[in-house]
Structure formats: C-alpha cells, structure tokens
Subunit: 510 residues, 2 copies
C-alpha cells in the first residue's frame, strides 16, 4: 500500500514535525509566574472558607485521580488527538457515520453480555430511580441502539471512553478508564464481505500509524465450538473452556490445561485433544488442512466456519493484506457475544529502534462477528447480524509516549501565531485594542496579562512557546503610525504601517 | 467584528451548505435492506441463547437510554461536531491548551463544592475500594489538576461530558448527561485582564454561531455579599440568600422574596432592602451610580467589586464589546466556588424567523472568577486565582436542531466520494480489487456488500447519499482496459483507462 503509507506517513510526519523544536526556537527555561498579585479577595474568601472544611483537616486528604485513571496533560492531548484523527479519517474513508451513546446504560442492558468479565462493570449507586452501569464497551450500546431504533443496516464509528474495574497494570498501558475507537457494520449481507473490510481497516490504521510490523490473528467461534464438540466437551462448558483458551496469549498451554482440568472440571484426555488443535496456526493452507480433518468435517458449525474463513482469505488476497493475517486456533476472544469470525492484531516487535525500552502492549486492535446481540435486545428477537473492530488506542498512545520519551521529543501545545508585546509602561490599552483586531480577523494571538510586563519576558515566552511572530507596540512608532513586526526565529524586526498590520500578519502566516 | 463574523459565518455557511441537498441529488426514498441472508449461524446462536435469558422473559424489558440521557444519531453528530469545532477554534485562537480528566473523581474531591446542588452528583456504587462520583462540571477537576500538579499558571480548554441528576426538562434542552466546553485562565495576573478576555471569547463564539442577538449579564459576588451585609443579612445566610437571588431568572421577585422569608428565615424588611438592589440593571453608568451609594461604599468588598467592574467595562470598550454587556445585580450564579466577577449570556430572541417554534433555552454561556477553589485542594492552601467560562453547547445544539426541523434541512452523514458499482453478475472480486486501490490512495469509497447487487439499487444509493462519483466496472470494458466514471449530479458517464482511474478520480475530487 505505497500511496496509503505515504498518506498516513505524511500525517504522522506532521506530528513528528510538531514534536521537534523548530530551528531558532531556543529553550530558555520555563517562564515563571509573573505574579504581581490579584487584587485582594480575602474578605470574600473568608466567607467561603468559613462554610467549607477547615484548613487543618486537609492533612489526611490525598489529592489524586481515582485508581486506574489519569489526567491527560496538554502534551498528551496533542498526541492523542493526532492519533484519533488518523483513526477517524480511516473510518470515514470506509463510509462510516458517527454515533454517540450515553456513558451509562440501564444495568440490565449490560448484564450477561460479557461472560466472566461481567464483574468488572462499574455500577452507579442507587440514588432512587433506575439502576445504572457505566458502559463496558461500545459494542453493546451499539446493539442496543440498533434494536431500540429498529435500524436494520448501519455502518457506524464511535469514539468514546469505556470503564472496566480491572486490576490496573499501568506498565502494560491498561487503565480502568480508556478510550475505544470502534467501527461496525450491521445488516444482512453476503458472507465475509464486511468482515474482510474490517480486517482491511485494521491493516490501514496499523500501517498508517507506523508502529512497526504487526500480525492479525483470525479464528472463528464456530470452529472453536466444533473443536470442543469433537473433543468431547459438554456443551454447557463451551463458554468456560473458550475463556480458558483465550488465556493462551498470556499463559502456557500447560497452565491453561491445568485450569481446564482442575478449575473447570474437564476430563484430562479431553483437554489434551483440545491442546492438539489450539496450538495450530498458519495461513490459508491451515484452513485447507482442517478441511481434511475427518471428525471436524462431521461438525456442521466447524464446516461453516472453515468455509467462511476460506472465503475471507480469498477476499483478503484481493485487498492485498493476506500476508498480514494468520489463522490461529488459539485465538478465542473473551467476550461472550461473538458468534463467528474473530480477530486480534498484535505488534510483532518493539515499536522503534533498539535503544527503546521494550513496552509490552499486547493486542492493539480486535473484533469479530456478533450476529445474536441485537436480537437479544429486540422484544421480538429480530436479528441484525454485525461485524466490527475496536482499535486499542490507549496502547497505541503508550507506545508513542514511550517513543517520545526515548527521543526527548517536545510538543507544541498551543497554536498561537502572534504575540502582542510592548517595551513601554502603561501600554495595556493599546495592546488590548490591537489584539482584539487580530482575534476578530481570526488570527491566533496572545498577550501578557500584566499592566507593565518586561519586554524580555515577553520575547522569552515567544521563543519558549515557538510563537512565530511578535507585534511590538512602542509610543514613538505609534505616533508616527508604525508598528514593529518581529520574526521570532530570525529575530529580524521590520516596521510596518499600523493600518496594514492584519493584512501583513495574514500574508506572513499564509 | 465584521471580519470575525465573516470568518465564523463562512464556517457556519459550510454547515448550512451541508444541510441542504446538493442540486441533482434527488431523494428517491431510503434504500431498503438488501437482505439475502447471512450464512446461517443458528447452531452457534443456539448455544449462546441457551446461556442467556430465555426469550419470553423479554416482554417486560423496556429498551431505552437512562432517564435524562439520549443517543446522538449521525445527523445530530454532524451538527454537534461542527459546533464544537467552532468553539474549539475560538479557544485555540486565544492560546489555550487542551486538557482531559477522568469521568469520575474521588467523592471527597466534589463534596462541598457545589452548595445546594451537591445532591445532584451521581455517586458510583461502592464495589470495594475508593468512593467515586461522576464529575459535575469541568471546573472542579481543573482546580484539582492544578493543585495536584502544582501548576501555578495555565490557560486551558476542556470539552467533555458532565453528569447531574436534575429533573430533566428536556423541552428546555436540559439533560442529565451533557457536554460542556470550558475555557479557564489560572494564575496571578493584573486585575480584570483575563476576565475581559473571557467575555470577549463568549462574544466571539455567540456571534460566530449566529444564534441571534444576545446579552451578557455581569455581576460580582463581592458586590452581592456587600449588599447582603448592608441590608442586614447574617453572614451565615449569605450562601442561602445568594441561591435564592440566583432564581430571579426563573421566578418573580415576589416568589424569591417569599423563599427568603418563609424558607430561609430572613426578616421581611431585610428581604425588601435586598429587593431594592437586585432589581437593578444597566451599563457602566449603574456602576458609577452604585459608587454613590453611601452605605455600600462603606463595605470594603463591595467597593473592590465595583472598582473591578469599572475596570472591566473599560477593557470591554477597548475590545469593542461593551454594548453586549449589562451590569445586572440579580445575577448570582448557583455554584458556591465563585469569589468575584460572574457572568451569564442569554439569547435575546428566538433564534431565527418568526415561523419557528419558540424554544426557551435560557443561558447559553456562563462563568466567573473563583480564586479560592485551587487552594482548597492544596495541602498547604496555596492559592491560584482562576477565571473562566463554560459554553452551554447542549442548548445551542437544541436551537440548531429546532432550526433544521423548521426548515426541513437534511444533512450528509457520510463523506464518501466514490462508489464502486457494477451492472454485472459475479463481479465482486473485481470490485474488491478496485476499491482497495481507491482506499490505499486515500479516497473515501464504498461498495455494496453483495455478490450480485442490482445496478439501479447501487445508483439510487449514490443519489440518496449524495456520493459525487461512481466507478462502474463492466466485463466488456474491462477486457478492453477501460472503466466508466459517472457523475451522480449530471448523470454523465465517461470511459477512462483502467490504469488512470485513481489519478482521474483525484483530479475530479480536487
């Protein structure tokens, strides 16, 4: 995908460009507080304080964000927004509409949708009225939306926060509050066409973000169920055993087998038979190989799954991404609602050069087909087949942050184009009049909130914040109808006519 | 502000342009579901269903969003994003950095910050661990962030959802979950300079959004406290009486007076004296008039407040917005944390033409100075003075939605540029290969997820969704190395060389 790489690469290069200090912008240390003091408001505050906790009580008051959550600083926000913009532009390239749903749902909407993970849902306190829970993902709210509005067909994306009460292992980029970027296609269509597009989207995003090499593992819930059936797993244990298989990316087969036998009561010989299957992975040739399995081919579900995977690989080849995709029988995906093809993208190496610390980020995108979920919300059980994917942007942010830390990259957090300065005392009124003119012309402008700031302080701020232009108002020049315009990078100053200021600034910025 | 109006107007016109159906794009009714059926997955679903609620239990299962919340459809999302883009671009024009904080905070961070409104905070259920509450506004999290990170100076904006357990009166555009757009300036500066900029920002945004005429009411908590003091209100009742005054925009003075006397135990003659003050409003001349009040001028706080307001009006005149601002002694603002200047913008008339239904939207922006809040979070009580504003985008959305409803405006919810169609049976593989080429070139493209779609259905979809171009692949043309490119608006078709397709599409779209 050379053009695509170029397109994304350009956007990404723009971010990296923004990360680096522009030439001529010398870091002279942070501009410290210029406090001259706000007019005293002590009296008003005394009244306020008298109604609030006395000061001494604060000693055992620890100021922090809740466990597993964090603030995002302006530096982090710049990176996050660039990454989200790239993801969203890909979703739009594939014709998706944007949707948004509330942060919380009726508790009963989420109950029994997530299998073993349901205990991780945040419930709201019963304060009278409905029982509510914070959303756990964006998929269940989407299915609820489709059923509630009787929408039979929709291609939508949704970017938003979700909440899970996981033990946060922050080193791995896992938080209790995190952002998801979901793309889903709902509707009755011919097999594997939307599914193949979902994999194409994952490839486009991961290539575009230039995170290094990646692989997408693919499997099918029907093949797994077929395997469980032919291995002799009782049907009532399918979900529990599927959950165990799902742990193969973090645990050895030995440990997973132990869980199946000791904790989930599976016969050891059944576990061993499963082991023979779920340790297989390969390309489309493995699909062909599985078709030769005499037992499995007796299983209707497995046969359907294999047929669809074969078709999927055919479409992936047409999309030019088959070599990025591996059929992996150990992939199970924890969530209960999947019914067909499932997939998960993993990074194959640490993101950049050898000098970087290794950051284990696990999977960076995942998804699958869930044909039963909408029907569970519909009063008459009408089904709307769906397939979709979720980009693990939180993990991607971690990689990029790590990379920036390694390279000591800096980020511009403001977009200010012009600073309005003066060397003169008592020139605030002139500065205010002038900056309003710039703002009204749509120019991004700042000034110092002081009556008599020092010129050097003003210029240092511009250099530190990489603001390209400074307008300098002086008494003498103003009398003569002129004003100085300074380029921060070159430190050159030119006198221009006061009335031409806006036009000249616009010319230089364009 | 002609340039500004133009600048914003252009952006707004772009939205309105998007609202209208492009010429030649004929509405031929919704494209209905093309179901041919997904390959049967009944077996897998049967397994799934067996583990979930049986179907018959669903009868008393009402599918809805929680009280006071709503989904945003793709149409609504387009409008919301346009409005948010305008607001954010104004914040950036004034040099603000973006910040984000978690949706919930430790409960104790929010306790006692909101006065009478504290009962509206959503608490999370105690599931072991910390006691948490959903954020009630973006101001308290900002103050917490400053204190926690020992930030002494910052100009930031924050766009995010907040939650309040209010009785939802949806007709007024009030919800329990709503979006806020906040801009705040923290730091020790000379008086009224950042405060004046906040009012300038409110004017720029409200002018830019073209919602009709508006007025910004200004007052000062110190003046109100001074009035309460000279009228003889006991200091312990200042907050309670302030809350009553705050209701003057919704209740008559008679009813507010009744609340003060009957519910809050104020002496009737004290209430009457307050009434003489809080029914006054005017321009800067009222400030001068108040300076003549012999009793009030004995009150240090009131005098400080009046002095600041005089300075503020001076700066507003320099910014060219003094005529948009009224000194209104009835303005009190409910929140506890304000310590100085407070303000609130109201629309003066229904948004557009007379044929529109009147929509009472109340205030559309508000804010003020809160110099004590950060110090309450700081273990040593170090203060960071702050002033800021919040744009009531939810109410602005309601106005725009109402306007669109009145004019029957339609919105394009996708950005698709090219549709890949075929009149041929069994041409899916060719379509898939071709569309991947378009995607990889960064072109927004769609196709129908069917093996053999009807050409008419495909073309109708393009007209309905206002997709400008259609690539039509036919067997004969393809053999000869050609492909058809159709303009949806003019219905003209031209044959172009297969290998020139991407370049030609890019040329036509640019």
């Amino acid at each position: 995908m050379p053009q695509l790489g170029f397109l994304h690469g350009r956007a990404w290069a723009a971010l990296l460009g923004q990360l680096r200090r522009p030439p001529g912008a010398v870091c002279i240390g942070a501009v410290h507080s210029h406090s001259q003091g706000q007019k005293s408001l002590q009296a008003a505050e005394a009244t306020l304080a008298s109604q609030l906790k006395p000061h001494k009580e604060k000693s055992n008051f620890i100021i922090k964000t809740p466990k597993g959550t964090r603030d995002f600083s302006p530096q982090q926000m710049v990176v996050r927004e660039k990454i989200l913009d790239m993801v969203i532009s890909c979703f739009k390239r594939h014709g998706a509409k944007r949707l948004d749903t509330p942060a919380f749902e009726l508790k009963e909407m989420l109950t029994e949708r997530y299998g073993e993970d349901s205990g991780l849902i945040y419930d709201l306190k019963d304060q009278g009225g409905e029982l509510l829970s914070l959303r756990y993902d964006l998929t269940v709210p989407f299915a609820r939306y489709l059923a509630m509005n009787k929408v039979k067909k929709m291609k939508r994306y949704h970017v938003g926060k979700v909440w899970r009460r996981e033990s946060p292992t922050i080193a791995q980029g896992r938080y209790r509050e995190f952002c998801q970027c979901d793309f889903d296609i709902a509707g009755h269509f011919d097999p594997m066409i939307p599914d193949a597009e979902c994999l194409k989207i994952m490839c486009e995003i991961l290539s575009g973000l230039q995170l290094g090499d990646f692989l997408i593992k693919v499997n099918d819930r029907r093949i797994l169920d077929g395997i469980f059936a032919v291995c002799g797993v009782p049907e009532s244990k399918f979900h529990a055993i599927c959950s165990s298989v799902d742990k193969l990316d973090k645990m050895s087969w030995k440990d997973v087998r132990h869980e199946m036998v000791a904790k989930k009561g599976l016969a050891p010989e059944v576990a061993d038979r499963i082991g023979d299957y779920v340790q297989c992975h390969g390309g489309v040739s493995l699909v062909e190989h599985m078709f030769q399995d005499p037992e499995l081919c007796q299983n209707k579900q497995a046969l359907e799954g294999l047929g669809d995977l074969k078709l999927l690989f055919d479409y992936l080849t047409l999309f030019g991404i088959a070599e990025k995709v591996s059929f992996d029988l150990s992939l199970a995906r924890g969530l209960d609602y999947y019914t067909g093809v499932i997939y998960e993208a993993v990074l194959l190496q640490t993101p950049a050069q050898a000098e970087e610390e290794t950051l284990n980020v696990g999977s960076v995108a995942a998804g699958g087909r869930y044909d039963g979920l909408v029907g569970m919300f519909d009063p008459r059980g009408h089904k709307v087949p769906c397939v979709g994917l979720s980009i693990g942007v939180e993990r991607i942010f971690s990689i990029v942050e790590q990379r920036m830390k390694t390279f000591g990259q800096k980020i511009r957090t403001i977009e200010t184009q012009v600073f309005v300065a003066t060397p003169q005392k008592n020139f605030l009124r002139e500065r205010l009049k002038l900056i309003a003119e710039l703002w009204d012309a749509g120019i991004k402008a700042e000034l110092m909130y002081k009556n008599n700031p020092k010129l050097l302080t003003q210029l240092h701020y511009c250099e530190d914040m990489a603001i390209p232009l400074v307008v300098i108002i002086g008494e003498q020049e103003l009398k003569e109808g002129f004003i100085k315009l300074r380029s921060v990078a070159s430190r050159e100053e030119v006198a221009i006519k006061r009335e031409n200021l806006v036009a000249e600034v616009q010319r230089r910025l364009s």
